[in-house]
């Protein structure tokens, strides 16, 4: 029984990634949008703008702002990814077809979630080095910690994005409602991600990182449980 549900989630992930690899519709739009956001802020602030006091980490203003800029860009692209994943189903009546397949609908949620997570992580693998070059950030020295924060945050973005994209999939005002519903829920995650990333980049002098990482982990667990328990009713017409 569980094996069949895992296979359903897996084949949904395979299907979404194969379509994305061939159509490249979500990834290209997301990477382009996020790249433009980072580039625009980079030009607006300038590479030599004086930073904050040395006792708070020093560096340029752009380096100090970089965690916020990066996560805002990723937040918006995560919404694009979630919306696109259900748009794909709506185009040819696929959502109806998914509704009538047997088995637990949690499998649909986890399949879609994993596909969104994979696409977002791939986009971040391109975006973060780009941000590193653009904002003169030393990412390599702190890569494991940075990757940990990125995975936890991206899981929260994907878990909620997939859930709300399914909730709004059949609505005419889908593209307006999705960010309105999604972004308020994600504010704690975004704040924790910005704070944790900033601490990772500055070397965590006050040992504060763990509490922010715990908050991200708790948000992941909470979002996954709530979404899994209620998804059945969300995809119901």
């Amino acid at each position: 029984m569980i094996r069949a549900e895992l296979q359903r989630s897996w084949v949904l992930l395979w299907k979404d990634l194969l379509i994305e690899r061939r159509a490249k519709a979500a990834f290209n739009a997301m990477a382009f949008f996020a790249g433009v956001v980072l580039l625009t802020f980079g030009f607006a602030v300038g590479p030599d703008a004086p930073g904050v006091a040395v006792e708070t980490g020093g560096g340029t203003l752009l380096q100090h702002l970089s965690p916020g800029l990066v996560w805002v860009a990723i937040l918006f692209t995560s919404q694009l990814a979630a919306d696109r994943s259900f748009q794909l189903e709506l185009e040819r009546g696929g959502l109806d077809a998914l509704r009538v397949y047997p088995g637990d609908r949690k499998a649909l949620y986890f399949g879609k979630l994993l596909a969104n997570l994979a696409i977002l992580l791939l986009m971040e693998a391109v975006l973060l080095p780009f941000a590193g070059i653009l904002y003169s950030l030393d990412l390599w020295a702190r890569l494991p910690q940075l990757a940990g924060v990125a995975v936890l945050t991206t899981l929260a973005l994907s878990a909620t994005g997939t859930f709300y994209a399914a909730l709004t999939a059949n609505l005419r005002a889908r593209q307006v409602l999705l960010p309105l519903l999604l972004f308020p829920v994600l504010i704690p995650v975004l704040l924790a991600a910005v704070k944790a990333t900033g601490l990772v980049l500055r070397g965590d002098p006050m040992n504060e990182l763990a509490s922010w990482v715990k908050l991200l982990g708790a948000a992941d667990v909470l979002f996954l449980i709530v979404a899994a328990l209620t998804f059945e009713y969300v995809v119901e017409e």
Binding site: R8, K15, L18, R92, G93, D96, R99, V100, G103
Partner: protein, 230 residues
């Protein structure tokens, strides 16, 4: 096999179904007739467990879909208005996806044999986005019967099909009856229904205007725009 009692479905302020009661026995092929907007597709969607009724009850194979939908769906095949196929995937990939979702194994040879049976063997490796409407319809029909369902729900199965394609739908329905299974088919083709179906249910304004032998459907309950209505 199907017992529907007082089925109702509302979309916002509009009632698509206003209390529909009927049964489907094993081995029955039923034509669902009616004008556009009469509630045919909505009724099929309720039976497919794709939507919940606003009122009334339905029993599928003696079970309540509200409690056992996950298991019941394995016994139902659905051909909807939209294909539900993915244009970026090939026919083989679409069938592999559907088979896994149905929880059945489908070898490459079995997949190709089934595609050959509906005349799509030559295009098995082509992306469905390059298919004609008729080819998409054939593949949709094949997908809906992939898991050998006990109840087949077909919404306008003859759409866009050529003569060979029409024959494929007819053959599927004949096989369903021979196996003691059932099918409900929403269609506008009255003459074809007369030849193939055992019973007709005519919907008008969300209610049943006629339920009986297909040969005895009074022309007064059929909308004039249906093909084959004098």
């Amino acid at each position: 096999m199907v017992v529907a009692t007082g089925l109702r479905k509302r979309f916002a302020r509009t009632w698509a179904l206003r209390g529909v009661t009927f049964t489907v026995q094993p081995g029955e092929i039923i034509a669902l007739l009616g004008a556009n907007g009469s509630g045919k597709s909505t009724l099929l969607r309720l039976l497919a467990t794709a939507a919940r009724p606003s009122g009334g009850t339905v029993q599928l194979f003696g079970q309540d879909p509200a409690r056992a939908a996950a298991a019941l769906r394995a016994r139902i095949g659905v051909l909807g208005h939209a294909s539900g196929l993915y244009g970026e995937l090939t026919a083989r990939e679409n069938l592999h996806f559907a088979a896994t979702m149905y929880g059945i194994s489908l070898s490459a040879e079995a997949c190709d044999a089934r595609l050959n049976a509906v005349g799509l063997g030559h295009a098995a490796g082509a992306r469905v986005g390059t298919y004609s409407q008729g080819m998409v319809q054939r593949l949709s029909l094949l997908r809906s019967t992939l898991h050998d369902p006990d109840l087949l729900l077909l919404d306008e199965p003859y759409t866009a099909l050529d003569v060979n394609g029409l024959g494929i739908v007819d053959r599927v329905l004949t096989d369903v009856r021979a196996a003691g299974k059932s099918a409900l088919m929403a269609t506008h083709l009255v003459e074809r229904s007369l030849r193939l179906c055992d019973r007709a249910i005519v919907l008008a304004g969300g209610t049943i205007a006629y339920d009986g032998a297909v040969a005895s459907v009074p022309s007064s309950v059929l909308p004039s725009e249906m093909e084959g209505v004098a």
